[in-house]
Symmetry: C2
């Protein structure tokens, strides 16, 4: 049920069309809670049925003749968001397919094991680069979503708005660093086992 | 589909009843890939229908009059296990409810935020203790499952059998250390934001 709360929090930064919401999600919460566009659109329709968001027609384009459907957070939506944030989250139980498979690498050839660790290394090196870039963007308050959010919020809350997001994305960067180191140690291990 | 492969790998260490398999799972793979006992029993029945494991009646108790149903890995089961281990696993996309919620902690009171970070800290401190203990057990080849596995395998494979499991569980310990540090920095952050 986390997706819906991420969508509510994003709409608290201002009205967005479904497309804008999906695009903004891709550039923010998606990096902590993965969801696809069809999942986002399905959830948005549910939120509208439950009156946690409301749709309104807005003019589209320079002539203002065509319209687009923009979503806003309702009072009930804001209350649901506050309720969720104020409920302590239970720890996520581990379900990591790569680590599970690595437990049984004695059944695989050294080349396959190398390929697995190299894939892991490449993925998390790229993730790390993204996280570090995102942390810099948040610190300098440079993302579109952050600018909209700060424009909506009283200045007394700005420090917290920035600091918690930086804390989360720095945590994700730390995780990626740990995965990079794990994959590198794994590659060294395959070599060592082959030499024995 | 990872659960089934963990069960196949466990049965490669020797025949087990459903109950023994579930108990052994709790003490090993469950710490990397969480599953409940009903999920394990359901998967075991599927594996039997697909002839990847076979059941046989074995004597139970000292008199040997009662019987128990023990499961063994079939040739097809061993092939499926090998196929899975030799397929490079795609990276797991992030879905972390605690980190997602922390992104929006500006909506929560400082006390709630403290409680969330303290819960995270307590959970991962305990997890870390378990991982470190498990790594020691694996290194000294002290777990029941490890002893059964080594007894079944040629000695040339023993080093790899131990080393890959140690590598995975050390990686899990490293992750827990990163979570402990993240929660501690989070607690310091709440204090700092309150003082500002």
């Amino acid at each position: 049920m986390s997706l819906r709360h991420a969508l509510l929090a994003m709409l608290d930064a201002g009205a967005m069309t479904g497309y804008e919401l999906a695009k903004t999600f891709d550039q923010s919460a998606n990096r902590v809670w993965h969801a696809t566009h069809p999942q986002i659109y399905t959830e948005l329709r549910k939120l509208e049925r439950e009156k946690l968001v409301a749709a309104r027609e807005e003019p589209r384009g320079p002539q203002g003749k065509a319209t687009k459907r923009a979503y806003t957070l309702t009072e009930a939506g804001y209350e649901e968001l506050s309720r969720w944030v104020s409920t302590v989250e239970e720890p996520t139980l581990p379900r990591d397919a790569t680590y599970l498979k690595a437990t049984y690498f004695e059944y695989a050839s050294p080349d396959i094991v190398r390929e697995q660790f190299a894939t892991h290394l490449a993925y998390h090196t790229e993730q790390l680069r993204r996280w570090e870039w995102h942390v810099e963007q948040l610190r300098s308050r440079g993302t579109d979503l952050m600018q909209r959010r700060l424009a909506e919020a009283p200045e007394s809350r700005h420090a917290a708005i920035v600091a918690y997001k930086v804390h989360v994305y720095e945590g994700m960067a730390e995780r990626a660093r740990a995965e990079v180191a794990w994959a590198e140690r794994g590659l060294a291990l395959v070599d060592r086992l082959e030499q024995d």
